[in-house]
Amino acid sequence: MVNKRIKRIKPPSPDFVESVKYHLEAFGVALKEAIKPSRMTIQYPRELRKRPKGFRGMLVLDVNKCISCFQCTFVCPANAIHMKKAPNGKYYPCVDYAKCIFCHYCEETCTKGAWKSTNFMDVAFSRVEEMLLTTEKLINGPEVPEEEREDEYMVEYEIRGSKLELKKEYSPEKLVEVED
């Protein structure tokens, strides 16, 4: 009980005049927004939300750095990472996105920095079997076909004073970017 400061609140119980005032206030706020809305919608997929540095997206494996130490599969809480034997006899990880929870413990664990995150995780798979990404598929990471892309802008929330602004810039050449 170091600094227990108590503040008792009293719920308002409006009388007739106050309640008319409150009705009008509610109406006024709604009308204000209807005339001059403070929109904050990011019109996905026309506009993409800018991912901050260190975003935990889909993973990319740098297979040359991997020393097949099994630590990422051991640490994975969802048991989504399995090791698969490659033609050279070593084991390399595969990620099952049907289980992956994007906690990126694997990335934090990897002593060699073989795991890299991308800024991308918005995939809709049509079949469960496709969600298991073997080592072969992990190296390149996800790609969105150019003709499927609908994005025009990249948007970021920015607060200036008392206003929330959607800072827009043109979307990048490549949708999926690997972080360093």
């Binding site: 009980m1 929109r39 904050m40 919608t41 990011i42 019109q43 996905y44 997929p45 993409l48 939300r49 297979v63 097949s68 099994f70 051991f74 809480p77 969802a78 048991n79 989504a80 399995h82 090791m83 698969k84 490659a86 033609p87 050279n88 006899g89 070593k90 084991y91 390399y92 099952d96 996105y97 049907a98 289980k99 992956c100 929870i101 994007f102 906690c103 991308f120 995780m121 918005d122 995939v123 809709a124 798979f125 049509s126 079949r127 469960v128 496709e130 969600m131 990404l133 073997t134 072969e136 598929k137 190296i139 390149n140 990471g141 996800p142 790609e143 969105v144 499927e148 609908e150 999926v176």
Partner: protein
């Protein structure tokens, strides 16, 4: 019952003279039923709220399954919920579509080996799967977009491509030293011992309180295990007596009722932790009293008459361990669990072991 409902729906929409109108209507009016199944509902709400506003795409979250045509399964479907999901799906008029979001729903995610979950895609046909735990609202919207495209073109496509690299070319096929997978780190003791022992702490008020309790309960072993934590070990015949004394002392609610299963010693340890709201000094103090009961005949009196707040925790422990709390009117019924799951938290109820190597 074998039928491909997905294909039937698409076929219905793309047949006849007015197929374009049918497709157009279905495409721009994917109303999702309000069936929140788990915590991915948070991101679903975000997708439909101001931040992303999926309503732009003509999709609206609506109350009843009768008036909608899209189920968004949000994450885990437990064995109990599976029936509700199936019923909801059956009640929905054709043509209907299903999007499944969240790892928990697809292969279980973190809960992949839980005793209480199912795989929704075994229960109803799914059009699109969105990974993530939870997925971003973008993921959900891209699934809605993909579904719209599917209605239009009739074929389901994954929205991203994953190119395959030839590993043999990249790494060579030269097999080096044979390397065996290392031993998994998880180490669970064969014959564990649960020892709860006194700890020396600097806690003046506690010492006083323990003395006071000792005077009242000469039959029990009372000690502090930490600051603000008092532990009382006693025999099962004094269980109610201890509760009564503590209740008169000012401990007015139950913080936790816990059962520890010790199969190799053939006993359950029932721990009940109580604390106080009405006495200011006792507020931070948690008093835990524990008794041991035989594992093959787990019966113990209910404390519901001292603390009504223990009611649901007793029901829960009855579900989990099969401990029978005599006096609780609910005993014999399932509370949390689906009917087919029996005493899952006993140690002999084994879960599937994790595997680390992909056998192909």
């Amino acid at each position: 019952m074998k039928k491909d409902v997905n294909a039937e729906n698409i076929e219905f929409l793309s047949s006849g003279l007015i197929a374009p109108i049918k497709k157009w209507g279905a495409k721009w009016s994917l109303w999702a039923v309000h069936l929140v199944t788990s915590c991915c509902g948070v991101e679903l709400a975000h997708a439909y709220a101001s931040g992303y506003d999926a309503e732009r795409w003509g999709s609206l979250n609506f109350g009843m399954m009768r008036q909608t045509n899209l189920i968004i399964v949000e994450g885990t479907i437990t064995k109990k919920m599976a029936r509700a999901l199936r019923i909801t799906w059956e009640q929905m008029p054709d043509p209907k579509f299903v999007i499944l979001i969240g790892a928990c729903g697809i292969e279980g995610g973190l809960f992949w080996n839980s005793y209480h979950i199912t795989r929704p895609w075994k229960i109803i046909p799914i059009d699109y799967f969105v990974p993530g735990c939870p997925p971003t609202p973008e993921g959900l919207i891209s699934a809605i977009r993909a579904l719209q495209k599917k209605i239009e073109s009739g074929e389901a496509k994954t929205t991203a491509k994953f190119r395959e690299t030839d590993l043999a070319k990249l790494l060579g096929t030269e097999v080096g030293k044979e390397r065996k997978p290392p031993k998994p780190p998880l180490k669970i003791a064969e014959k564990p011992e649960i020892k709860i022992e006194p700890k020396e702490v600097e806690w003046e008020f506690g010492k006083k309180l323990i003395e006071e309790l000792k005077n009242k309960m000469p039959f029990a072993e009372i000690f502090a295990i930490d600051i603000n934590r008092i532990y009382i070990k006693t025999e099962s015949k004094f269980y109610e007596k201890v509760a009564e004394l503590l209740e008169s002392e000012g401990f007015d609610h139950v913080k936790s009722l816990n059962v520890i299963d010790l199969p190799h010693e053939n006993k359950f340890v029932v721990e009940c932790s109580v604390s106080s709201y009405s006495v200011e000094e006792l507020m931070p103090v948690i008093v835990t009293f524990s008794v041991e009961i035989p594992r093959d005949k787990p019966r113990i009196p209910s404390l519901i008459r001292f603390w009504p707040s223990i009611d649901y925790q007793e029901r829960e422990m009855h579900d989990f361990f099969g401990v029978w709390f005599e006096g609780n009117p609910w005993m014999g019924n399932k509370f949390l669990l689906a009917p087919e799951v029996e005493t899952p938290l006993r140690k002999d109820f084994k879960l599937e072991e994790p595997s680390y190597v992909l056998e192909r």
